[in-house]
Symmetry: C2
Subunit: 500 residues, 2 copies
């Protein structure tokens, strides 16, 4: 697995519901999603659909005065439970996707709205969904992409909050709280850091704000993926580690290529070593994917998935001491859990390209500019083939793709890296099962910069709607989150009283 | 006095040592300076000249990736008193002028260097001095000016601090403290707010961070100017208030125009009512100027000035019940204090244009984009002719001049306006005599956002070098400032120890 491939693959995991960027070599990885559209609570769909859609005219460039162009930022409002007296406003800091998708998939906000007397606002991130600064031309070239940065997005949020306070009188003197998950969680935390006058606090769920430069070891992400499989059974990760060489051995000649293609029921047969690399990437992607969505209940993720899917997958890797062909057969069975849980698939399609989505363009650009996250594997602490992080290669590839060069140290300069203790009122929640927790804040920094770790949690499980199968750890996490929010709200009203 | 004229005039006061923007109608105001080059301590020149000059390659645009141009930011280092063990770094956040000028005129930093074991760093603000993003083309048009914003300047400072920590090993684990006066004080405060991971605190001297939108009454600035004159004698401000009508009455015909020109010893005779308006603006400018530099010792400001110059000026306005011609004579005597203290001037030159300075271009642009400060007079609470604040007029003028439109609410969106209590470790110092104190923070916000008011202080007197004639209030202010800084430094080292 080429490191760049792996890297782009991993980055794409931050982006739920939309496809990853697809450089030629990555076609097979292009179905990557981080979806959490659970079908187990169909009633929720109705519950979450009661929002109104709005648009705010935003400056394309908040940080310069020459460009006086504007675009419409989309945002959603749900105020069924909002109280004009003593209420609050939960403000979802939209990330790299369609805001309606986030609105429908952040059940936590809907579940706590009544208790917090809260209006819910979901703000779409520029360059995603319908919030395109230059319409269809938004992704045309680096000139049009130039205004896709986290700073511009945060400024959009700030202007939106000002607009809401101005146009909704009762909102003027109510506390806003930022909420976000994954990259949206990073934005929620950064928003509180940079605009503490706009929000009294932030819930940053599964936000890997330290997955930059050398703040965490570049291998930590894949180590956690590996640990998730090892937790099910040590033989599981051991088998997967062995599988790369097995595949290599089995695909030395055309007979082998055919054999492997047939054993895995691939829709398109392997033709050469490049295809084999592609296959490995695709399989690795699947394991990573499973680690992120290793949720405790059945979910419908691209294909339907069983509860605790890693456990189900690992059923097929009980014995690591099998022949290469047996191991191959086990891989097929494991892949089948992920790609064919419904039993409808005629073959496994590793080269199916993704739904063309503007969102993927945007994220690929962001990953090539600001959001530069180093990843690596060593094959010892993780179950993958070893690959070092090579910034130069990465940079060159970005330049080829976008005509821009990444600035890997900028995020730390801008947002403080590990030196953030002077801020306040941010909850960093992480699931222990989530590979992104490796780049997250998992220890309290101060009394008001708190870490909440969810032992049985995958990627921002806490932001999902309540579910009968939720483990105690996520229930506890949500309850602590609400307690913090209530305190922020109380403090806000107390300071308001003091002023008057 | 046209309001726009007044406004531009006032804005220019933020800019020490360089000329104000000169739209055609403002030629006579173009000598406006806020200099504090005191000649009373010639020895200081030697003391302050021991710095080394450096340049850091900075990105022209920190907030986008398309423009990959760079420029050299100039900065100065003085490390005579710096201690590698237990030391600190005072970081001057340069404002709208040549950094060497600030270095030579911020005696406070030099005076406390030894006590704080401090390295002194003076960072030049982009588009001023030698730090020109596009060299001679920097002010060519709005496209070249586009990167002149406070946000870009703060990002320069952040990159510079990173660079210093990287290249000066002993600086890596030392606390940086931001120091600035006037607009530089605003930058120091904003820098601590936006980059608290870069500086442990900020001394924001005479920083009118609230002179925006409607955070303070638009008339407060001119009321303070008036109060300064009234303090010397109520008849003084009364006489000045009467003088505008007197000038109007005296200049109704050509005989009158000549009479006034001669009485005031103007180098160029008044020709028409436009010249008369010009004269009034120029005189008003003088009173404002005096209020800002009403220092307790002789200083050399454009022309040499006596100690407490307003007191000297007001000697000539003892009796408000005089004829128009007598009043005119008194105005001449008063103007003479300011423009001819040395007794060398043959005539008073109100139309002398300013030294052409790039700095003035930059500040005029900033005042027309981000730094939009509303001013007004009513002739009742102040001694000036009444003028309302008219944003539309202002905006149109900016568009004519720069091809850009001001965003008067942006600074508040960005930096929080009055809602800044979640920040920490900022000293806001203000002189009661300084008209800018009206837009400053003059009451403690929290235990760590403190206001220090200097009863006998004009514009950032506390940042000036020690002087035998310093009033007790400024000595006390400086001592409190040092006490706060020492606490920040102590806290920094304590937290460092805790980490290890």
């Amino acid at each position: 697995m080429g490191l760049l491939v792996l890297l782009l693959l991993l980055l794409a995991f931050l982006m739920p519901g939309v496809a990853i960027p697809v450089p030629p070599a990555l076609r097979a990885l292009s179905n990557l999603h981080l979806s959490t559209k659970f079908t187990s609570r169909p009633s929720a769909v109705t519950k979450y659909s009661k929002y109104s859609i709005h648009y705010l005219k935003q400056k394309v460039d908040h940080f310069g005065f020459k460009n006086d162009k504007h675009f419409n930022q989309r945002y959603l409002i749900a105020d069924q439970h909002w109280k004009k007296e003593g209420g609050s406003i939960l403000f979802y800091t939209g990330n790299e996707g369609d805001i309606i998708w986030f609105c429908n998939n952040t059940g936590f906000m809907w579940d706590v709205a009544e208790e917090l007397k809260a209006m819910l606002v979901f703000a779409e991130h520029r360059y995603y969904g319908q919030s395109l600064p230059f319409g269809a031309n938004s992704f045309k070239d680096s000139r049009h992409m130039n205004f896709l940065t986290s700073e511009q997005a945060l400024a959009d949020f700030a202007e939106l909050i000002k607009h809401l306070k101005k146009t909704i009188p009762a909102a003027k003197n109510q506390p806003f709280i930022a909420v976000g998950g994954s990259y949206g969680g990073m934005l929620a935390a950064w928003f509180r850091m940079k605009y503490p006058h706009m929000v009294v606090g932030a819930l940053a769920a599964s936000a890997p704000i330290w997955q930059f430069e050398d703040m965490v070891p570049c291998g930590v992400f894949m180590e956690i993926v590996t640990a998730d499989f090892r937790r099910s059974s040590p033989n599981c990760s051991k088998s997967i580690r062995k599988s790369w060489d097995a595949i290599h051995r089995l695909t030395r000649n055309s007979t082998g290529l055919n054999l492997v293609s047939e054993a895995l029921h691939l829709c398109t047969s392997l033709k050469n070593s490049q295809d084999v690399q592609h296959l490995k990437d695709w399989i690795a992607e699947t394991w990573v994917n499973l680690a992120m969505v290793d949720y405790p209940y059945e979910s419908n993720f691209l294909q339907p998935l069983p509860a605790w899917p890693i456990k189900v997958v690992c059923q097929h890797f009980k014995n690591p001491n099998v022949s290469d062909t047996e191991l191959l057969q086990n891989i097929f069975s494991a892949l089948n859990v992920y790609y064919n849980y419904s039993g409808q698939a005629k073959c496994l399609n590793m080269s199916e390209t993704s739904t063309s989505s503007l969102g993927s363009m945007g994220w690929s650009y962001q990953a090539c500019t600001e959001i530069v996250m180093p990843f690596c594997t060593n094959g010892i602490d993780d179950m993958f083939e070893p690959h070092a992080w090579d910034l130069k290669d990465f940079s060159n590839d970005c330049y080829r793709q976008w005509g821009v060069k990444p600035r890997p140290t900028w995020i730390t300069t801008m947002y403080g890296g590990k030196n953030i203790s002077s801020h306040s009122n941010i909850i960093f929640s992480n699931g222990d099962l989530d590979p992104w927790s490796g780049g997250g804040v998992t220890k309290n920094i101060t009394d008001t910069l708190v870490a909440i770790n969810i032992a049985e949690g995958a990627h921002h499980l806490d932001l999902r709607a309540n579910n009968a199968f939720d483990p105690m750890s996520v229930l506890l996490a949500r309850s602590m989150e609400v307690r913090h929010m209530k305190k922020w709200i109380r403090d806000f009203y107390a300071s308001l009283t003091k002023k008057h």
